[in-house]
């Protein structure tokens, strides 16, 4: 039991921060008790990241101005107001008393220095260690974050490591000088769930061992439930609520907290139901959360007739290493022997971790990648037998929505131009006037006013841009929409809106969806059927209910057990998780074994291993 009366390591008092004329944090106060973890949660624009950068005094280096307040650090040897320090003095505290882990492990390490050099650097700086001593300590730290073969790891460069390994190196750097306070800013957001679970474990253990306090910045309520002792909820730069984690989840007081919690998709929320359902959205009306919209069972899948899309024994591989005269020696079997059907009006999800081949399948169906084996049949016609004209028509009937709404709209063209692109490309309108009125209808269909057509992408938020991308996909009058991680860049409240939009479109137009995602909770909410992928092979395929309630394959179980449960009271039963996904690179003569399946219930296929 932790000592609740222990003094605070850090207290933020009446902090206000501005960038230029914009106030991004307003009168924020909270405290971090010694040895405890405070989660600061909020959606994009809530000011949670600026809070952490202000504590580090990195915010003012990026141009922020501290308008009011104090940030008091109490390491036991007296109190210091961090905001009163010069940068030179703050530098002595950064990395030593307060350390920070960042969101993007892929870009957090300097690509031109070895792992060992980057850890040793901070020890030489703050502890005055010699280079040799620092490298020895670095090796110990790498074992501490459970990286195998620590001595060899010292000599490796960041690009040779996976995201999860890099994040562990980052943690090793952060805890090198035994900081009193560790700030973790969305440290697991960019990682797969199984890796996320490992990182959270490591952080918890290190905290215990070193007696550190932690500030954990996140938007993921599941992670909060998992790691936090106390929670601070931020909204538009202000603290709206704070309290112990159990209280925040069980009895949220502020309307915003309540709406945030109700928007979070929870694993197991559709237990006992055969079909996914459209559920009401929680929105703030006059400062009170209200449920808006209907509950409707999404029984849109027309499984009686022929399937719209038939994928049989699909294989896709990429050659990656060649001899100097061009013969392939190594390749990646991105997808091996994948078979599934999609019926009109059905949503089938491809779920798996990075490198599982889920996006490759989606791209191959969209003709963005050539298959190396197997067949794709759309509406009874084999894609391989199609002529150019028919393939072009297919590009209209299948539309693709990409993950990053910021990168998938041309920044120099108006929204109207982008939405009209499929109409122009496929000659779907007779004249400009018809095109314009069609664009207006489409924008209204996705819940945007028609007159935004004249504006440019930078004037819209991520959620609005994703709606625009959906409008563009609809412009082609598609029969199948491939949605590739379309929700992962969006806040949960926006996610819920987009999910409902998809369900409405499916209901009204009978569109089939191929939904690619790594988020098990979202997949459970939207899918009729689910295919679980592991290293390029479908390991389990079945109805949503079969996959989530009669889980049969060990990998699916592992994936499900790694998903953080947004309920701090729930007792966790987790399969212990170790190690990384094995490398997928193979020598040419090393072909993956063909998969065979057992049909353990009607339509429920499990790979035999």
């Amino acid at each position: 039991m932790k000592d609740l009366s222990s003094p605070q390591i850090l207290s933020v008092e009446g902090l206000s921060v501005s960038f230029g004329k914009t106030r991004v944090i307003d009168d924020l106060s909270f405290a971090v008790p010694k040895g405890r973890t405070v989660a600061v949660v909020g959606e994009s624009g809530s000011g949670k990241s600026v809070t952490s950068l202000s504590i580090m005094r990195l915010a003012d280096l990026a141009g922020a101005r501290f308008d009011a307040g104090r940030i008091v650090l109490d390491t036991g040897a007296g109190q210091t107001d961090l905001l009163g320090l010069t940068q030179d003095a703050a530098r002595k505290i950064r990395g030593k008393d307060i350390a920070m882990i960042f969101q993007e492990p892929m870009t957090s390490l300097n690509p031109v220095y070895t792992v060992g050099e980057q850890i040793a650097e901070i020890l030489m700086l703050h502890e005055g260690s010699s280079r040799d001593a620092a490298l020895r300590e670095a090796s110990r730290l790498l074992s501490l974050v459970r990286l195998p073969d620590a001595d060899a790891m010292l000599k490796r460069y960041p690009h040779q490591l996976s995201g999860g390994m890099r994040q562990r190196v980052m943690i090793a750097i952060a805890v090198a000088c035994r900081p009193k306070l560790l700030i973790a800013d969305e440290p697991t957001t960019a990682l797969d769930v199984t890796i996320q679970a490992q990182i959270l474990d490591i952080l918890r253990d290190l905290q215990e061992e070193m007696g550190m306090s932690m500030i954990f910045i996140t938007h993921d309520m599941g992670v909060v439930a998992e790691i936090a002792d106390d929670v601070v909820v931020m909204w538009k730069g202000e603290k709206v609520e704070e309290g112990p984690v159990g209280q925040i989840f069980a009895h949220p007081q502020h309307p915003y907290t309540r709406s945030l919690l109700s928007a979070v998709p929870k694993l197991g929320s559709t237990e006992g139901q055969d079909y996914p359902s459209k559920t009401p959205l929680t929105v703030l009306v006059d400062g009170e959360p209200q449920l808006v919209g209907e509950t409707r069972v999404q029984d849109t899948a027309q499984t009686q007739g022929d399937p719209l899309l038939v994928v049989r024994d699909l294989s896709v591989s990429f050659d990656i290493r060649k001899t100097w005269y061009g013969r392939t020696t190594h390749y990646i079997p991105a997808v091996t022997g994948a078979s599934f059907d999609v019926y009109p009006g059905e949503t089938i999800s491809l779920v798996g971790e990075s490198g599982s081949g889920k996006s490759t399948i989606a791209r191959t169906v969209m003709q963005l990648t050539e298959p190396t084996g197997g067949a794709i049949t759309f509406d009874g016609r084999n894609m391989a037998d199609m002529g150019l004209a028919e393939r072009q028509k297919l590009r209209r009937e299948i539309q693709y929505i990409f993950q990053d709404p910021f990168a998938s709209l041309n920044p120099r063209q108006t929204i109207g131009w982008s939405v009209a692109e499929p109409i122009r490309t496929h000659g779907l309108a007779d004249n400009d006037r018809e095109t314009r009125s069609r664009v207006g209808e489409l924008l209204e269909r996705v819940g945007m006013p028609a007159d935004v057509a004249e504006r440019y992408p930078h004037q819209f938020s991520g959620g609005q841009r994703q709606r625009i991308c959906i409008a563009r996909a609809l412009a082609g009058k598609p029969r199948l929409i491939i949605a590739d991680e379309v929700l992962s860049a969006l806040d949960v409240s926006i996610q819920a809106q987009v999910i409902n939009l998809f369900m409405d479109l499916q209901k009204d137009e009978g569109i089939a969806f191929l939904f690619v995602s790594h988020d098990m909770a979202v997949v459970e909410k939207v899918s009729h059927r689910v295919a679980v992928l592991y290293l390029g092979q479908i390991v389990e395929l079945g109805s949503r209910r079969q996959i989530f309630e009669q889980t049969a394959h060990p990998y699916t179980q592992r994936l499900l057990s790694a998903v953080p449960n947004p309920d701090p009271a729930a007792k966790r039963e987790r399969t212990p998780l170790d190690g990384e996904l094995p490398s997928t690179t193979r020598r040419v003569d090393d072909r993956p074994a063909p998969v065979t399946y057992d049909e353990i219930a009607k339509g429920h296929f499990v790979a035999r291993h």
Partner: protein
């Protein structure tokens, strides 16, 4: 790394073969050298011309001549000059070191000026120092090299009597030609260093370096500079070609006895064995420099090394 080197070396050899082939064909398209040699003489007969061609080996099939030229690169035998009959190899042995000295001095001058200025402009982005550096670099970009060369001579030799106006008689004579070439390179390099520095400073790993508590100096020189050097080095390799092109004019203005002067005289005198050899050697040099650039990449960036 070894595989990487072998691959780049094979590519370099191929490029040299293609370049020498183009040079050989192009030179032959400018006319019959026998006629050029015989220009001064009256009552030339076809038999005389034939004799001259035989003497030059021009009656051989093109492919034989081409291989003779190519092997010249390895045996250091390029035949004799039409003007004066000196061995071309002797002429080049005199001129090549002078040109290399000038070219590398210019590069060094440009790096010494452009890297600190570019970094300064980047860290003071939008402030007056940045504006000033950017304006100066635009001014530098707008100078034609022959004009700048003349102005330097007017200022330093004629008005101030500080530097000798021409020739190659000691370190003092190197200053003005190297400055002329260097200033123009500097103008582009400052902008390149500034842009790539700005980009690198936005990286997450720079934030991480600051979060470690490193001084701004370490952040800049240890973490940012090495990463922002990668585009600069690429560009230096590309610039080297332009540099050798510009050297013809600058060497002529300062009467610098290098490959540029040699080429200039060869063109005016239609001394085509010299011209062909000079072009071939300069092209090979450019290929070599770019090979060195590729190797330098590998040294700076581990991601390229292991590819």
């Amino acid at each position: 790394m070894a595989g990487f080197l072998i691959k780049r070396l094979a590519q370099a050899v191929f490029v040299v073969i293609v370049v020498t082939l183009i040079v050989s064909v192009a030179v032959r398209m400018t006319g019959d050298p026998a006629m050029m040699i015989a220009q001064g003489a009256t009552d030339i007969t076809e038999a005389d011309l034939e004799r001259i061609r035989e003497g030059l080996g021009l009656n051989e099939p093109f492919i034989t001549q081409y291989f003779a030229t190519l092997s010249g690169l390895f045996t250091w035998d390029f035949g004799r000059s039409f003007l004066g009959g000196t061995e071309v190899s002797t002429l080049i042995a005199g001129a090549l070191p002078a040109t290399l000295l000038l070219a590398f001095s210019s590069l060094v001058v440009s790096i010494i000026i452009s890297v600190p200025l570019g970094i300064r402009a980047a860290i003071r982005r939008g402030k007056w120092e940045d504006q000033l550096i950017r304006i100066l670099s635009l001014v530098g970009l707008s100078f034609p090299n022959f004009w700048l060369a003349t102005m330097l001579v007017l200022l330093f030799s004629i008005t101030l009597h500080l530097l000798p106006p021409s020739g190659m008689t000691g370190w003092a004579t190197l200053v003005m030609p190297a400055m002329t070439m260097g200033v123009i390179l500097t103008a582009t390099n400052v902008r390149l260093v500034r842009t790539s520095m700005l980009e690198v400073m936005q990286s997450q790993y720079i934030m991480v370096a600051r979060a470690k508590g490193l001084s701004e100096r370490s952040v800049l020189y240890k973490h940012a500079l090495r990463n922002s050097a990668i585009p600069l080095i690429t560009f230096l390799g590309l610039q080297f070609g332009g540099l050798l092109g510009g050297i013809v004019v600058v060497e002529k203005v300062f009467n610098w006895p290098g490959m540029g002067s040699l080429a200039f005289d060869a063109v005016s005198g239609r001394d085509y064995p010299v011209l062909q050899s000079v072009i071939m050697i300069l092209s090979t040099l450019i290929v070599l420099v770019n090979l060195i650039v590729d190797i330098a990449y590998g040294l700076i960036d581990p991601r390229i090394r292991t590819e």
